[in-house]
Symmetry: C2
Subunit: 451 residues, 2 copies
């Protein structure tokens, strides 16, 4: 039932996308203020809204959601911030399309279930509204191509809001790689290792935990995210791991992902959680659900420059959060799990050093400059930076620092990983979403302290 | 030149193997003392010899090596230990064959260059001498089959001397898995991450470092090990990582490796080392050598029970030593790089605990019992345990705890990894070296405190 509804909804969305007219983006040359709308003000959207309301260069003119409870929360937040009441669009899955016709709107933040990112982004670009889209894996390679082709045709700015690219330690390491501290880069590791069991299941009221419900009986992410764990087996959420690595290796800018293989472990964690939960148990209806998503999905990526990348997707088991970064070159390496660095000639021979002093010394200029403004923002401040980059690039009419090619090559990992697993770990080539432009495009991400 | 010589030598060895007669093993029922010979008393052989000389249940009756310097060291060590002088076999690559005809000899320890392990082990088994063989990857799948078939035909005991299976933390974790502390096991990581640049290159006199020579101009391991980095690209040394994981998952005993994929990064480390070394430089002849071995080789292994294993081979770059273990199940995980454990319901939610107290609580009975005897033995004491297991199993005429099937399935990783890389990471199936016996064989490794 859930699956049929899901397919119906998304194909309907796709059909509407096809019919939508192409609208040229009205450029915001040196705009002082961005009129921003929110498609989706659930848990994630509210957190970005909170940051938007702290900025004088943003006016939130519209919000959209199908959930009246969260609309109410958003309006209260806006009122409390002393900002003008926005137009509200709600009542149907497609209310966002009316919002996109709203004149007093330059750009939208999309924080909706994964399967809506592509149709909504495409509709927004076609309506001439710049897009800052939350991260996700793609449902199909064709989705990635649709995003790329729509952006190329409309020239409307599109940014994928990968906050971990702006994590303080990650940016310090990026800074170190640019100063050749690790030598020629050779190997990377990253991933998404996050016990999401209280995200995938709740009591239908709270955001997190308290029950084993999902789908129609769940609330927030449990309403939709868990369905992907029932039906799909692959690296469902690659961007937090691959985004920062993509920036370091200049992905799509002199380098690109060539192919990957994926392997999936058995799927046990989600079923065990349901069976052992006080609100669950072996006779709970969800104890009969067969989850396809392997508990650990590991992916190897080969780049055209010969670096290798290992990604881990680990969201069904009890464990401390870790992105598991490793950045390794001919002169040394960083690992985040043990918070350590080794640099030949600097570190004592064959011994780790605590990373902390390096991270301070090589703190990225952006963090040095904006540390105070970022303080208190979500996820240790990095959320401030990703929104700031989107808004500053928009105001200056400059290229988006994490663009549609970044999005497509990251999001494609999910589909390619599913395909590889379905074929017993056969290698899968990455499409070149840039049509060869990757050979001559130059790096632009966080080159200075501007944004 | 090196390559041609290498091929010539090994095919000569193979030819002789074929001609050698099959000799039934004379069983050592309840022997009190093992008459032991050493084939190879280089750096590694000497270290095992040192341990053998400390035991009353071993008499070293023979030693064999082509290097007079190391023969001299061995004889001095034996004399210093107050033990009788053994017969010495030397003078040619095949002197070991004369040693195998020696009557006063029950078993041999083989610590020779990798390419000699198979012919020497086979010759020894055919001569009725039990074999304790040092670890290595295989040169071909056929080598693995030869070892298996010879052992099956001769019934002569064969043990692969994988010391890391006896590492104290690894055995404590094995103990924890057997007590279901991590729940159902799902995923593993391990490997061999060891900066071997001063092993692969030296000054032709010292064991380690001081120059950039290898092959004919190198000494000890640099004489032969480095050649594999010139010509081969794969996980050349998988056993330290896979051995302990094999014990935990009951490999070949209810479970087995099904297939793998491998990926190799660019090869930069060894060339850079030569070019930047004070005794090297861009005009040193070895600066022209093209090394094929990728600096980082990552391998995914799928087991028949649905666990996944990621192995890393990392021996060309500056880095602290790490085997990079991770043992993960439905109730928690251990990682050795951050020396941490997380157990659901015991550890504070979403927070790592230091592994140390768990490792003490679950110290393996073998280590509790033999801690004092192992003190001072190589590699933190684990070398004592692996030799002890070989000798105790021999004395009792019991099955070898790490047997020819363990050896074959571990050593095969090297060839399969080479094949996968040569085919752009295509998956490679593991042969079932047990001919189906894996389905009913029972675990025997370190079940108690006997050996």
């Amino acid at each position: 039932m859930q699956r049929r509804k899901f397919i119906k909804d998304t194909s309907k969305a796709a059909a509407i996308v096809m019919m939508a007219p192409s609208v040229a983006f009205i450029k915001n040359y040196q705009k002082a203020q961005i009129k921003l709308g929110f498609i989706g003000v659930g848990a994630r959207g509210l957190s970005t809204l909170y940051l938007a309301l702290r900025r004088d260069d943003i006016v939130v003119t519209t919000i959209c959601d199908i959930d009246p409870i969260t609309i109410k929360k958003a309006l209260e937040m806006i009122e409390k911030a002393g900002k003008p009441k926005p137009e509200v669009f709600t009542g149907s899955d497609y209310a966002y399309k009316s919002m996109l016709e709203f004149k007093n709107l330059d750009a939208v933040i999309i924080s909706t279930p994964w399967e809506w990112h592509t149709p909504m982004s495409i509709d927004a670009m076609q309506a001439g509204k710049a897009v800052g889209c939350e991260v996700a894996g793609a449902m199909s390679l064709d989705e990635c191509w649709q995003m790329v082709r729509t952006q190329e045709r409309t020239k409307v700015p599109f940014m994928v809001l990968e906050n971990v690219c702006y994590r303080r330690d990650v940016m310090a390491i990026l800074n170190m790689t640019r100063q050749n501290m690790f030598g020629e880069l050779v190997h990377f590791e990253g991933g998404y290792q996050h016990d999401l069991r209280e995200v995938k299941f709740n009591d239908g009221v709270k955001y997190y935990g308290g029950g084993v419900e999902f789908g129609d009986k769940g609330y927030s992410e449990a309403q939709w995210r868990t369905t992907h764990s029932v039906y799909r087996n692959g690296d469902l959420y690659p961007t937090h791991g691959i985004g920062p690595i993509g920036s370091i290796i200049n992905n799509n800018r002199g380098n690109r992902f060539e192919y990957l293989t994926s392997m999936s472990s058995k799927a046990r964690g989600l079923h065990e959680y349901i069976v052992n939960h006080p609100q669950g148990g072996p006779s709970h209806p969800n104890a009969n659900v067969k989850f396809r998503l392997g508990d650990i999905v590991t992916t190897h990526i080969m780049t055209s420059n010969g670096e290798t990348i290992t990604l881990t997707h680990d969201t069904n088991l009890p464990r401390p959060y870790s992105i598991g970064f490793r950045v390794q070159g001919t002169k040394g390496l960083w690992m985040d799990v043990n918070k350590s660095i080794y640099i030949e000639g600097k570190s004592p021979a064959h011994r780790w050093e605590e990373a902390e002093s390096y991270l301070k010394t090589y703190d990225h200029p952006l963090w040095k400059k904006y540390e105070d403004q970022a303080a208190g923002a979500g996820h240790g401040g990095m959320d401030w930076f990703v929104l700031n980059a989107f808004v500053e690039a928009l105001k200056r009419d400059e290229p988006m620092p994490l663009d549609v090619y970044d999005h497509a090559s990251w999001a494609a990992i999910t589909c390619l990983s599913e395909q590889s697993i379905a074929q017993g770990s056969e290698p899968q080539p990455f499409p070149d979403f840039t049509d060869g432009k990757w050979m001559t495009r130059k790096p632009i991400f966080a080159l200075n302290d501007v944004y």
